[in-house]
């Protein structure tokens, strides 16, 4: 039946294209070298080279004022994964990227929140690498300076008002804000803008590491457990149950007592112990998706199970994974802020710590900017995670994005 087309003698315009393929010439797909894998390999090599360079060179800083520690290497590793499996597929599949852009154009709010999150990440990275210790090295000793449009009783500035002070000797006479500190300063004299920038740094670590390592790990565990089932499922879900029964926050606090605060410890504690929920969701979604006709159809043509998981199951569990991942991000950012608020800080300065400083040291209603500004930044970030998580789900689904 296939011969008629292959020997060339009877080829006519009415021979279907598929009849002309001589399948003896083709072997199974050898697509082990996908663009994603190449990008991942290149990225990992570049990372290794960077590490060697850092060890050989004679500076504390990797670049600019970036003092890299374990958390930063984890951050770079996660970035490589995100680039390889987030950006490369988008760049390759231009039709899909165009569709996403088209859908986003009609969703202003999503774009606004996405831009805000992007801004927080850029600012946080600037805080990491742009100047030493997030710009909080040199104390100006200009304490409790008010924002430029506001004023504060002169007394609260420790009798050191940078701007104009009202005439008289009354201790409560207003000290006015200046452009030297547009958003004012806190009780140590740190500029609020520097504090806001420094406070964005934990968000960078948490976001990139969660999206680049924790969520992929949780998804892989959930997919494998749900798709293959059997013993693998039992073992993986036992691991998940075990980690769900160990609260990450307790482990972090214990570690904090022994090792002190460190971003790497925070990432380790929550990275190892907080993904069980997502793994369970992915597993239950996978159990449903694997019964779908398109999975059966893919199996029937001999698609390898890794491809079925990647092309058919994974894209269809994003409906739940994307909102769950962004919810986890919101929870982690809030947890970090809460811990810092209570004093268990992971890093020098974070929004949570700044809020606590503003609330507990100085009359909070009068020096309102010291706690309100970081609280607003934190609240906006958490809200943005929730909104973006829900909206990205709709945007990614071709059935919704019309």
């Amino acid at each position: 039946m296939t011969d008629a087309a292959d020997d060339g003698s009877t080829v006519s315009s009415d021979v279907a294209e598929f009849e002309r393929i001589d399948w003896d010439r083709y072997e199974g797909s050898r697509s082990s070298l996908t663009a994603e894998r190449i990008a991942l390999a290149v990225g990992l090599l570049a990372l290794a080279a960077t590490y060697l360079y850092y060890r050989i060179q004679d500076s504390l800083y990797l670049a600019w004022y970036w003092n890299v520690g374990l958390a930063d290497w984890l951050l770079l590793l996660s970035t490589v994964v995100l680039l390889a499996y987030g950006v490369v597929p988008l760049a390759r599949n231009r039709r899909e990227s165009r569709r996403l852009l088209g859908v986003l154009r009609a969703r202003r709010l999503t774009v606004v929140f996405l831009a805000y999150l992007g801004g927080v990440l850029v600012v946080g990275m600037y805080g990491n690498a742009g100047f030493p210790a997030g710009g909080l090295v040199d104390l100006t000793l200009n304490r409790h300076q008010p924002p430029v449009w506001s004023s504060v009783p002169y007394q609260l500035t420790q009798h050191d008002c940078v701007g104009r002070v009202a005439d008289g000797f009354d201790l409560t006479r207003p000290c006015y804000g200046t452009w030297q500190h547009p958003l004012g300063t806190d009780r140590w004299g740190y500029d609020m803008i520097d504090l806001l920038i420094a406070g964005a740094r934990p968000v960078v670590y948490l976001t990139v590491v969660t999206l680049g390592v924790i969520v992929p790990l949780a998804s892989a565990v959930g997919l494998a457990a749900g798709y293959y089932g059997g013993l693998l499922d039992d073992v993986l879900m036992a691991v998940v149950d075990a980690q769900l029964s160990v609260p990450a926050i307790v482990i972090y606090l214990l570690a904090w007592m022994y090792f002190g605060g460190s971003m790497f410890l925070l990432l380790l504690a929550f990275g190892l112990l907080s993904w069980g929920g997502i793994a369970r969701i992915v597993r239950s979604e996978t159990l449903q998706r694997r019964e779908e006709g398109y999975v059966l159809a893919a199996r029937a043509v001999g698609t390898p199970s890794a491809d079925i998981l990647r092309r058919h199951v994974l894209p269809n569990v994003t409906n739940t994974v994307v909102p769950a991942a962004f919810h986890l991000l919101a929870v982690l950012v809030l947890t970090e802020a809460g811990l810092a608020f209570l004093g268990f800080r992971a890093q020098f300065q974070s929004w949570g710590l700044t809020i606590a400083e503003g609330l507990f040291h100085g009359p909070p209603t009068i020096v309102w900017w010291t706690s309100t500004l970081p609280a607003v930044a934190l609240a906006l970030t958490v809200a943005a995670f929730k909104v973006v998580g829900d909206d990205l789900r709709d945007v990614l689904d071709p059935r919704w994005g019309q």
Partner: protein
């Protein structure tokens, strides 16, 4: 390239022998096996090149599992599958991949058959990609050509599945099955999710494709009408077994197995005044047994209108069938005797609370022709009145048990049957005539 007449001298393309697929029912942490669902229980048939072969039966009879087992999408428990003379169960990875290229599956539900996240073009190109056609341009050409050959447009390749109707998606399913130029397509209820006209169009398309590309098609359906129109040969399946097999016309024009008759009678008639085969509740003949708890002997016996009468029971046919109805009613899962009485009362046979009433409910005369049976019925009624349903069942079984309840009939070519049929009626060594004129409604008052 059209092959319409079956050339039985040629080698079968697909040959299935004694195919069995059991699903274990397990309990507890150690997954101890406590039972089995015999989804497919010894099925044999051949499919020849370029023919259309139908497997027909009610849902749950194991026809879909048969399809999946043939393709090793469910690993068969035992049996033999040969494709083009090769042992499918012995295939290594490379051979299995070649097998998956030459055989294709078309699914029942077009809405679930396509990944909502992939464009139609990507979905149809996937088989090509998997089998090593790495050039995207070439894949695109094949996909567009295939789309046009199933009556769609090349530009449809850029759409997403949700943008198309069920009929269009089923055409795309056929395009996806065609791009690998297979020798065999198994279509599992390909039209059951479609409405009347679309159904006919898709069926017509399948017939065209079969003619044009010489592909053998196995059509799996519960729809007798569909199989009758489309298939050269047919196998009728009931609870994991084939009960009758042969050329479509012969099987449906002169059904030999009582089940085939029941199946045919369940096709709705166009005449509104024609009696329907719908049965009254509780009679038992419309109930589909649980595949994990199969009836003994012939699996169809609890529903069979032609159950063989034991030689030592001397009753007129009418009375025999009435006694059978009594036994089937009794065999249902009653909570207690009161529930049984209540069910009879519901049927409007008066206040059924005595011997006479029970007999009347099942049209039994006060005295049955066979004294042994008469005693058995009286004893059974006494047991029921005493609240002992199990005792009544056993008492009746002792006297009335049919060969159909004891022995499973093999699918074989009997003297009186013109084709393979699995029914004791055709076994010359057993009592009972191959009564071809049995009225399937005789048990369905």
């Amino acid at each position: 390239m059209t092959v319409t007449d079956l050339d039985t001298d040629s080698e079968p393309l697909l040959s299935v022998r004694d195919l069995e697929k059991y699903y274990p029912i397990t309990e507890g942490f150690l997954r101890r096996e406590v039972g089995r669902v015999r989804a497919v229980d010894g099925v044999s048939f051949d499919v020849y090149p370029s023919e259309t072969f139908g497997i027909v039966g009610e849902s749950g009879c194991g026809k879909s599992t048969t399809a999946l087992s043939i393709f090793r999408l469910e690993e068969p428990t035992s049996g033999e599958i040969r494709f083009d003379g090769e042992d499918v169960l012995a295939y290594d990875d490379d051979e299995l991949r070649a097998f998956r290229r030459r055989t294709q599956l078309v699914l029942q539900d077009p809405d679930s058959a396509f990944n909502p996240r992939l464009t139609v073009g990507d979905a149809i190109a996937e088989p090509l990609r998997v089998h090593g056609l790495d050039d995207p341009e070439h894949r695109r050409r094949v996909v567009e050509d295939a789309l046009e050959r199933v009556g769609l447009e090349a530009a449809d390749a850029d759409g997403y599945p949700h943008e198309f109707s069920g009929g269009e998606k089923q055409r795309m399913g056929l395009a996806r099955a065609l791009v690998l130029n297979p020798d065999l397509i198994v279509a599992d209820e390909p039209t059951s999710a479609l409405d009347g006209r679309t159904k006919a169009e898709v069926l017509e398309l399948m017939a065209d494709l079969e003619r044009e590309y010489g592909v053998a098609i196995v059509l799996i359906s519960h729809d007798v009408d569909l199989v009758r129109r489309f298939c050269d040969r047919v196998a009728v399946m009931y609870l994991g077994k084939i009960v009758e097999r042969g050329p479509t016309e012969a099987v449906f024009d002169e059904p030999q197995h009582p089940y085939t008759r029941v199946l045919l009678s369940s096709v709705p008639s166009l005449d509104p005044n024609a009696p329907t085969a719908n049965t009254r509740t509780g009679v038992g003949s419309d109930e589909f047994p649980d595949a994990s708890d199969l009836p003994s002997g012939c699996r169809f016996h609890p529903r069979c209108p032609a159950i063989v009468q034991p030689t030592d029971v001397e009753l007129p046919r009418e009375q025999w069938l009435s006694v059978v109805r009594l036994r089937r009613h009794l065999a249902d899962d009653w909570v207690d005797a009161d529930a049984l009485w209540a069910s009879l009362a519901d049927e409007g046979d008066g206040t059924a609370n005595g011997t006479l009433d029970l007999r009347r409910s099942f049209d039994l005369p006060e005295t049955l022709a066979d004294p042994d049976v008469d005693t058995a019925v009286s004893d059974a009624v006494a047991s029921i009145e005493a609240g002992d349903l199990e005792g009544a069942r056993t008492r009746l079984a002792d006297t009335l048990e049919s060969v159909c309840e004891r022995e499973s009939p093999p699918l074989s070519e009997f003297e009186h049957a013109s084709r393979p049929v699995a029914c004791h009626r055709y076994d010359p060594d057993l009592p009972g005539e191959p009564e071809t004129g049995i009225d399937v409604r005789s048990l369905e008052d």
